[in-house]
Structures are given as structure tokens and as C-alpha cells.
């Protein structure tokens, strides 16, 4: 038996695991969860998956706001006297054990009558009796078993979200019409001249007409609307020839059956609409567990503790915070407004904002900016602004966030459709003119036949299937793209802009270099051991950087919060920490983070921390430099300039000290000069730049947790593959061009029949599905070959 990993969460238990029932646990939290499950006969949880759990977090006082009526009102989706239903987002949901335990919540709290997990969305929908329990105990129960729900300002809207399913309805109706009309037109395909079939022809025909009505007027309505809008804006988009084709098909077929001229083209009509909708459906690839629309609201809390004049704590909604309010921020809570620190030791993690995971210490009187997360103890602060006016949140008032990127962008299909429509219209006019002279009875026939056969079904399908398939391939490679037009934009990029911290540097690893007098063995021993006792992030980093040493028990150890550590072992009395704490005589202002060391009151030297760059950064930049302009746009100071210069190709522009608005303006300026910008960033401070750029990609260490609004989310482990994704997008455009060529060939064949006036319904019924299916097959195979090359 391995005893080194925690039975509950799978973490390393360290040298002293807590054992309970012959199972080892890394901490008391995990053990408690196991005890809860054990008491309630729920240990089956551990049978489904090995160590599925999470360590429960400190939640003291954190959910007090959930007992407020107006907040419950906003969070629940249904509320009556006895029953409340709430849907909670739980990021930890990741395996079948999670589904099992969360759907057995009623065994832990009998007041919960039903809980249902949506694994894709990572949500659980809980129904509970509101007479005997409340939202708060339910949330506390979830937190106590390691499934802490994530409640943010984004949830602050009541009612159920509307899910749009119209496309599926339309597809269903079209499939129904297509199948049944095909069925009914069979007798006429084979021209069985049996007496009774002849006699009942009108019945069959009018039945087909009836079935085609919902297909034309319901399923196909989007094409008419879009074509109309396009014409109004003087654009010949792809929907114009499609709408034209559909209407001509329908009108001609109706006329044919009214005057008993023929059986009409209802089969082709329904088939066409069906295939087009399948294309549309395929192009929609949604990642339930990802959101591309997040703004600061997804990260900010709903409520915060306010201390009134009499020192009484109240929960208030963050929107109600006013200037001058005194607010309390607990450990692990986010600062929602700009303010001044009044009490307590602030150690703020701004990784949401900048991507930098190193915490910043603040003293009483210092200014705190919204978006930081307190990581140690409780602090009190005074609000200087309201939520919407804070430094960070102000960024969202920029116009760029209200703009839809897809507008004002002509996609490849619409570009070609312009020429296509004009060509088709001229051919039909010329052919009609020719037939008017030779055989005027056929003229009308030829005119409509050209428009029918030229209906660009295959062209309209090329892009949806190519991009749709590539979206799925990218998704498997952990590159999650919002929609098809992003791939098209990506193929046109000529400038790539990177954020520095958190984007090309890694959050997890950091390097430290020592500069100063050499430390003796005993000093090294004390240093390593005193760092071992400290929980400060810099100490942890430094501890991991230093080489192994024996574990000794220190004679004295004291941590001065915000300053450093003082430790004593035998003859060595060591101070580790800030320059002033250690007593550095000649302190110079350096831009990098440093930790200073003194031994027996003699200054020894300092460790300087450097960002550690992601693996493959240099290689990626060298690949990119051939085709793109490269820029590093960083919010940090210039401390890393020299390092970056060594690492990156010479032509890379390095720009530092950029505020969020500066980044946005920088991109806007370059776009006005004709650049197509790809922005790669990670923090909320990049949100403006990501929205302004032609394609904004957010890098994320954990795609479930954090990413600002963007067009695509890239898993950090796949960062070095970026170039091949851009290359694949370019190849996708090539595939589409080839399939356009293929569909032109079909069109030429069809036009031959149409122009010569011999278009039979059966020819149309064969040619149309054939061209559509071969385009689908071609694009699918081609993109899969492309996908193979990605690996």
C-alpha cells in the first residue's frame, strides 16, 4: 500500500500523515470529510475513483451574506413557501465520484430533496425544503465536504437563463419534411405508369406541398431574414443566392403542381434546407465548462462585510458600497473596490489582475486596488470609490466591450458569394434571352432551373464543416476557440503581441540567484531550515530552489510579518527578509524582487528572483518571427529587459510599464495602421487588449478557473504549440478554397442541364445531396489530416 498520498485528495502527505482507519490523510480537513462520508455510509465515493476529493477551505463567516433575503432571491431560480431550487457552480466537479456524492446529498442533509449534477457545466441543481433549512447551510454543507460552490457577482441575476434551442427545432422540422417528401416523391422518380398511381398523383403532390410549408416558412426563415438584411446593407452575402434559390424552388414547384406541369422540386427544396441547417448546427461547438464572456463580475463577490460606526458587522451587496465605507476583508476574499488599508497585515495576491502570483505586502495607510485577493488573516479597509469606478473595473466602461467583433468582418464565404451571385444572375439572364429567341416556351423554365441548380448549398457548407471540425480538433488539443470566425481571423494575423507576466512566464516556477558573500555550510543549513518553517510565498520559492539539506531543529525561530524571519541555531543567528529588516548598509533600488540575508548581524548578500519563462518560449518566438511582427507588452517595470533581450529574437519590441488602457490603445493604434493583431494575455488587466485585438487568446493554467473575456482559451501546457495552431488555421482557409472549386464543378454540371432546359426533378434531387455530401466528406477528411499533423 502506498501511504504517501492522501486517501481523500491524492496530495502528498509529507513525512507525517494523519492516519485514520488505516488510511492516510494529508490534513485534518481531508480526514474530516472522510469521517463525514464514513458516518453516512457514503464511502462508495472512494470506490468510483481514487482520491477524488478536495481539501475543504476555511469558510468561517464567508457565507454570512447568504442568509439575506434579497440575495437568496437573486440566487435561487425557484422560490415558494416550502421549496427553493438553486443551481450552484462548483469548479471542483471532475469525476464520477463527484456526481455520485453530489447526487446523494440528501443522505447528508435530509432537508435536501433532490440534487442533480450537470457534469459539462459543473453545476449542481439542488432542491431543498426552505421551511426546515436555508441556502446558507446547504452551501456550508457543500463547502465542508470539499465542494465549495463559486458564487460571484455574475450570479447576481434572478431567474432561469433562457437556452436557445430554435436551431434544433428547425433542424427537426426540416428533417421531418425532407424524409417524408422524399418518401412521397419515389413513385414519380421511377415513373411507374400504373393506372392507380397516375390517378392519385395530385394527392401525393399536394401532400408534398403541405409538408414543404413548415420547411420553407419555419426552418428556412433565417436565410430570408439574413438575405434581406444583407441587401438592405447593400451586401451580397451567401444567404442572398440561398434565399433566392429557396424561393424560386418553392414558387416554381407550386406553379407546376397547380397547372399540372410536373411534380415540382419539393424533395430538393427540403433536402437543401436540411443540409444547410446541418452545416449551421455542426459549426456550433460550445464548451459548456468554459466561458468566453467573463468580465470582472465573474470574479467579484456578491456581498462584503461592512463595519458600521458602532463596530457592528453587516453583509452588504458590493454594488451598495459607498465612498468612505469601512469594509472587512477576510482571508481568501477579493477586494472589490479601491481603498486604503486601515488595519491588519495585507498580503495581496494580484494574480487575477496581472497574472503575477507573488503576493504584495501592504502596510496600514497604503492604497489597495480592486481585484486583489487577501491571502493572510483579516484586514479592514476604507473604500475610496464605488465598485464601478475602481481603477480596474473602469476598464469595462470602454466602448470596445460593447462591440461585436464579428460585425464589420467579411468572411470568406461572403467574399466569394458576391462574385458568385453576380455570375449566376448573368448566366440565367443570358440563358433566358437565348431561349426566348429559340423556344420561348422553355425560357421561364430555364431561368428558374439555373437559379435552382446554382443554389450554393455546397459553398455554404464548406466553411461550416471545415471550421466546425477544426474547432473540435483544436478543442481536443486544449485550444478552445469561441467560434468559427475566430479561426478565420487567426489565419489573417500579421502581428503577435504577448503579455509578459503569467503569459510567457510561468506562475508555478521562479528562479532565484544569489549575489554576495559565500555562505558557510552551517549558514546554509540554518537558511534552509528557517525557510522550511515559513509559509511566505517567497520563502516557499526559495526553499524549493535551494539544494537539499539536513533537517535540524532550530533553537529560535520568529517570523516578523511583512519584514522577514529571524532564526537561531547554535552559533548562527540569521535574519532573512527585506533590506531594511536585515540591515543592508548600501541598499540600492532594484527593480526585481529580492530577499536579503544577514548572519550574526553581518550582511551577507541577497537572492534576486527572476521570472521563469515557459518552456519553448524562445523556440516559439523564433518560429513566429519569420511571418509576424512580435511585441511584448508588459504592465511590469523594466527589470526583465536584459533577460528578455537574450531570450527573444532581436526584432521583438519590448514595451514596459503599460497600464490596461495603454495596452488597449497600443493595439488600436497598430490596427489603424493596418495590422491584424493577435493578443495573448492572461490577467484581467489584459481584458481590454484582448477585446480590442482581432483575435484575443487567454492563456490559462487551469481552464476551469480563470480567464478574462477572449476569443479563445489556450491551456498553458500547449503554449509552445501556438505557431502550429496559426498554421493550421491558414491551411483551413486553403481547404475551403479547394472545396469551393469542387462545388463549382458540380455547379457547372448542373448548369449544363439547366441551360439546355433538361433539368428533371430527379437530376436536381441527385445532384444537390451529392454535391453537399461530397463537400462534407472532403472537408472532414482534409481537416482530420490537418489535425493529425498537429500532434
Amino acid at each position: 500500500m502506498e501511504h504517501n498520498t492522501c486517501f481523500h485528495c491524492g496530495d502528498d502527505c509529507g513525512s507525517q500523515p494523519i492516519t485514520f482507519q488505516e488510511k492516510s490523510f494529508c490534513c485534518n480537513g481531508c480526514k474530516t470529510v472522510f469521517e463525514i462520508f464514513n458516518e453516512n455510509d457514503l464511502t462508495c465515493y472512494y470506490d468510483l475513483q481514487n482520491s477524488p476529493g478536495a481539501i475543504p477551505k476555511e469558510i468561517e463567516g464567508k457565507y454570512d451574506f447568504l442568509s439575506q433575503d434579497n440575495i437568496i432571491e437573486k440566487l435561487t431560480e425557484f422560490r415558494s413557501d416550502s421549496i427553493e431550487i438553486v443551481t450552484l457552480y462548483i469548479p471542483h466537479i471532475h469525476c464520477s465520484s463527484c456526481i455520485w456524492i453530489l447526487e446523494n446529498l440528501n443522505k447528508l442533509n435530509p432537508n435536501i430533496s433532490d440534487s442533480q449534477v450537470n457534469f459539462g457545466k459543473k453545476t449542481v441543481r439542488i432542491t431543498y425544503n426552505s421551511e426546515t433549512t436555508d441556502l446558507k447551510p446547504v452551501v456550508l454543507l457543500l463547502s465542508s465536504i470539499g465542494y465549495e460552490p463559486y458564487i460571484s457577482l455574475d450570479d447576481f441575476k434572478s431567474g432561469k437563463q433562457h437556452i436557445n434551442r430554435t436551431l434544433i427545432y428547425k433542424l427537426g422540422v426540416a428533417a421531418f419534411g425532407f424524409g417524408n417528401i422524399m418518401f412521397l416523391s419515389f413513385p414519380e422518380y421511377f415513373e411507374v405508369n400504373e393506372y392507380w398511381l397516375e390517378q392519385y398523383k395530385p394527392v401525393f403532390r399536394w401532400l408534398m406541398f403541405a409538408l414543404s410549408l413548415p420547411v420553407v416558412f419555419y426552418s428556412a426563415q433565417d436565410y430570408f431574414i439574413s438575405a434581406f438584411k444583407g441587401l438592405k446593407a447593400k451586401l451580397l452575402n451567401i444567404d442572398v443566392p440561398i434565399a433566392l434559390g429557396i424561393s424560386v424552388l418553392f414558387i416554381r414547384s407550386t406553379v407546376e403542381i397547380i397547372f399540372d406541369l410536373g411534380s415540382g422540386f419539393f424533395d430538393s427544396l427540403a433536402g437543401l434546407v436540411f443540409f444547410l441547417l446541418v452545416g449551421k448546427f455542426f459549426q456550433q461547438k460550445t464548451y459548456d465548462f468554459l466561458s468566453f464572456e467573463r468580465d470582472y463580475k465573474s470574479y467579484f463577490p456578491i456581498a462584503i462585510t461592512k463595519i458600521d460606526k458602532n463596530g457592528i458587522e453587516n453583509s452588504i451587496q458590493v454594488y451598495d458600497i459607498e465612498k468612505g465605507d469601512r469594509i472587512l476583508i477576510r482571508n481568501e476574499e477579493l477586494i472589490p473596490v479601491d481603498g486604503i488599508l486601515i488595519n491588519g497585515n495585507a498580503k495581496i495576491d494580484y494574480s487575477f489582475v496581472t497574472g503575477e502570483s507573488q503576493t504584495v505586502s501592504k502596510q496600514s495607510g497604503d492604497k489597495l486596488f480592486a481585484g486583489g485577493k487577501q491571502t493572510q488573516g483579516v484586514i479592514e479597509m476604507e473604500a475610496l470609490k464605488s465598485v464601478e469606478q475602481s481603477y480596474l473595473t473602469q476598464l469595462w466602461s470602454n466602448d470596445v466591450f460593447n462591440k461585436n467583433k464579428e460585425d464589420g468582418f467579411t468572411n470568406i464565404t461572403n467574399t466569394i458569394s458576391k462574385h458568385f451571385t453576380i455570375a449566376i444572375l448573368s448566366i440565367s439572364v443570358i440563358a433566358t434571352a437565348f431561349w426566348l429567341i429559340t423556344d420561348s416556351t422553355k425560357a421561364m423554365n430555364v431561368f428558374t432551373a439555373v437559379l435552382i441548380i446554382a443554389c450554393p448549398c455546397a459553398i455554404a457548407l464548406s466553411a461550416p464543416f471545415t471550421f466546425g471540425n477544426l474547432l473540435r480538433i483544436f478543442g481536443k488539443q486544449k485550444f478552445y476557440v469561441k467560434n468559427a470566425s475566430v479561426i478565420e481571423q487567426l489565419a489573417k494575423i500579421n502581428t503577435v503581441i504577448f503579455d509578459k507576466t503569467g503569459t510567457i512566464t510561468s506562475n508555478k516556477h521562479s528562479n532565484a540567484e544569489y549575489d554576495g558573500d559565500l555562505l558557510s555550510d552551517s549558514e546554509n543549513l540554518v537558511l534552509k531550515n528557517s525557510l522550511r518553517g515559513s509559509n511566505h510565498p517567497l520563502s516557499r520559492t526559495l526553499y524549493n530552489v535551494l539544494k537539499e539539506n539536513n533537517i535540524v531543529i532550530l533553537d529560535a525561530f520568529e517570523e516578523h510579518i511583512g519584514k522577514g524571519i529571524e532564526a537561531k541555531h547554535k552559533a548562527v543567528n540569521m535574519k532573512i527578509g527585506s533590506a531594511s529588516f536585515v540591515g543592508n548598509p548600501n541598499e540600492t533600488t532594484v527593480l526585481n524582487t529580492t530577499v536579503h540575508i544577514s548572519s550574526n548581524n553581518v550582511y551577507k548578500g541577497k537572492f534576486t528572483f527572476y521570472n521563469s519563462y515557459r518552456k519553448g518560449v524562445s523556440k516559439l518566438f523564433n518560429q513566429l518571427k519569420q511571418q509576424f511582427d512580435l511585441v511584448i507588452l508588459s504592465g511590469d517595470n523594466e527589470g526583465e529587459r536584459e533577460n528578455l533581450k537574450k531570450l527573444l529574437p532581436a526584432k521583438t519590441k519590448l514595451i514596459f510599464n503599460q497600464k490596461p488602457e495603454d495596452k488597449l490603445d497600443f493595439i488600436k493604434y497598430h490596427q489603424s495602421e493596418g495590422a491584424k493583431v493577435l493578443m495573448i494575455g492572461d490577467g484581467l488587466n489584459d481584458a481590454g487588449a484582448l477585446a480590442q485585438s482581432d483575435v484575443g487568446i487567454a492563456i490559462s493554467e487551469d481552464v476551469n478557473v480563470f480567464s478574462p473575456a477572449c476569443d479563445a482559451i489556450l491551456d498553458a501546457t500547449k503554449f509552445k504549440e501556438l505557431f502550429s495552431y496559426i498554421k493550421a488555421s491558414k491551411s483551413a482557409i486553403k481547404i475551403i478554397k479547394w472545396s469551393f472549386l469542387l462545388s463549382f464543378i458540380y455547379n457547372v454540371i448542373g448548369l449544363y442541364f439547366a441551360v439546355t432546359g433538361q433539368l428533371e426533378p430527379v437530376v436536381a434531387a441527385i445532384l444537390m445531396p451529392l454535391s453537399s455530401i461530397s463537400i462534407v466528406v472532403f472537408t472532414t477528411i482534409a481537416t482530420n489530416v490537418l489535425g493529425k499533423r498537429l500532434k
Binding site: 455510509d41 457545466k121 434544433i168 417524408n180 392507380w196
Partner: protein, 60 residues
């Protein structure tokens, strides 16, 4: 000969019935989550097994 009317109406009625059932199924939201039910359906067995083992350990 009018049997053709009966056959045609039966075929259309069957078709419409399936369409309505499909639309109702989509409307009820059962296609919204296509993963969780596939996991959930396997749990029943696990629960029974757990009961058996717990009984066994008690008798042991």
C-alpha cells in the same frame, strides 16, 4: 382504392407523432446535458454493491 388515403394518412400521422415527440424531448431539456446521465446510470449497481459489502464486513 381509397386504401391509399388511409396508408398516406397513417404514414403522415406516424411521422408527425415522431416529430412532436422529438420536439417535446428537446424542449424538456434532456439533450442539454449529454454526459452526466451516462455516468449516473451506472451508479445503481455501485449502491447495491456497497450495501452488500457493508453487510459482509458486519458479519465478519
Amino acid at each position: 382504392m381509397s386504401v391509399i388515403y388511409i396508408l398516406l394518412s397513417v404514414s403522415v400521422v406516424v411521422g408527425v407523432t415522431f416529430l412532436v415527440i422529438f420536439l417535446m424531448a428537446v424542449r424538456s431539456g434532456q439533450y442539454d446535458d449529454d454526459y452526466t446521465p451516462s455516468v449516473r446510470m451506472l451508479f445503481e449497481d455501485e449502491l447495491v454493491k456497497e450495501h452488500n459489502t457493508s453487510k459482509q464486513t458486519k458479519t465478519d
